[in-house]
């Protein structure tokens, strides 16, 4: 372990401005993708169940 303090860790030897945005944007993009897909899946399911209900098919 080469970090003596949290500040040193965040500074990344002076490269913090480059390192953290890279990791941050990557994490944000990945989380955002998962959230969007879960919403899309839920929407598709609701739309489907509504159309089935309106068609009068018993589930």
């Amino acid at each position: 372990m080469q970090w003596n303090s949290l500040n040193e860790f965040l500074a990344m030897g002076g490269y913090g401005v480059y390192v953290w945005p890279s990791f941050g944007v990557t994490a944000l993009c990945m989380i955002w993708e998962v959230l969007i897909l879960r919403r899309r899946h839920a929407a598709a399911r609701t739309a489907l169940n509504q159309s089935v209900a309106s068609a009068g098919v018993a589930l």
């Binding site: 372990m1 970090w3 890279s22 990557t26 598709a44 589930l59």
Partner: protein, 247 residues
């Protein structure tokens, strides 16, 4: 021969695929999260500081896996496209369609993190290096495949046309890589030589490999999630969707 194919079709029907994908997603997601956590731990806390680049090199723990995934996913997408064209199997096209956005996302991330690595390393956000340029073209090609699919109303035609385009792209990317490398040797001196890979410690390599595995599993989970959305959206009139309660 004929009956074999019929069975294969039944097995690979969206109806069978939908619950299968649903069962697989949690596994991929778990493995992915474990790998990403372990990779970040190794990358930030175990791997030593690089004596040449300082700590800026740690960007490669996302950059290199993202770049690998962007290319790997393109090849996988083209593979599904080829299977779809060859066997006329709809789930293959759905898989190809589901992979494209994730591949494009990783391409974008590879470019973005590449820029943030390039600035402290080479002093420039962007260098006309063979790898960066091919990565950019790869992003254009992902965009082309997705836009072509989106602009054709008839789904069957959209599937097959974008599959042909994906296959053409697979041939194009290596040609571009080599042509840009060739082009770069001609303009030597204009940019810093970026082909020489820095010597890496074993822990660095291990962290990178684990991160790549994490990204891989993430892609699998996300792709399956997306393919489930696509199945529901496309098959909403099919009787199995109407009768079975979808979860």
């Amino acid at each position: 021969m004929k009956t074999d194919r019929m069975n294969w079709f039944q097995w690979s029907s969206p109806q069978a695929f939908y619950p299968l994908a649903g069962k697989l997603i949690p596994w991929f997601a778990c493995v992915s999260m474990v790998c990403l956590a372990a990779g970040l731990y190794m990358g930030f806390l175990v791997a030593p500081t690089d004596f040449q680049q300082g700590d800026s090199y740690r960007i490669i723990f996302v950059h290199v896996p993202a770049a690998w995934m962007s290319m790997f996913l393109y090849v996988v997408m083209a593979g599904w496209a080829a299977v779809g064209l060859g066997l006329k199997a709809r789930p293959s096209f759905m898989m190809a369609q589901a992979i494209a956005p994730t591949g494009a996302l990783f391409t974008f991330l590879a470019l973005f993190t590449g820029a943030f690595w390039g600035k402290p390393t080479w002093g420039a956000w962007w260098v006309w290096d063979a790898r960066l340029t091919s990565e950019l073209i790869l992003l254009f090609q992902y965009a082309g495949v997705m836009l072509l699919h989106a602009s054709i109303d008839d789904l069957r035609r959209a599937d097959r046309a974008s599959a042909v385009l994906a296959l053409v792209g697979v041939v194009n990317v290596p040609i571009i890589y080599f042509s840009v490398r060739w082009w770069n040797t001609l303009h030597q001196g204009a940019s810093i030589s970026v082909t020489a890979a820095p010597k890496m410690a074993a822990t660095m390599l291990a962290a990178m490999g684990i991160m790549a595995l994490g990204f891989w599993m993430y892609s699998a989970a996300v792709t399956l999630l997306r393919v489930r959305c696509i199945i529901l959206e496309r098959e909403r009139h099919a009787s199995w969707v109407q009768i079975e309660r979808v979860s």
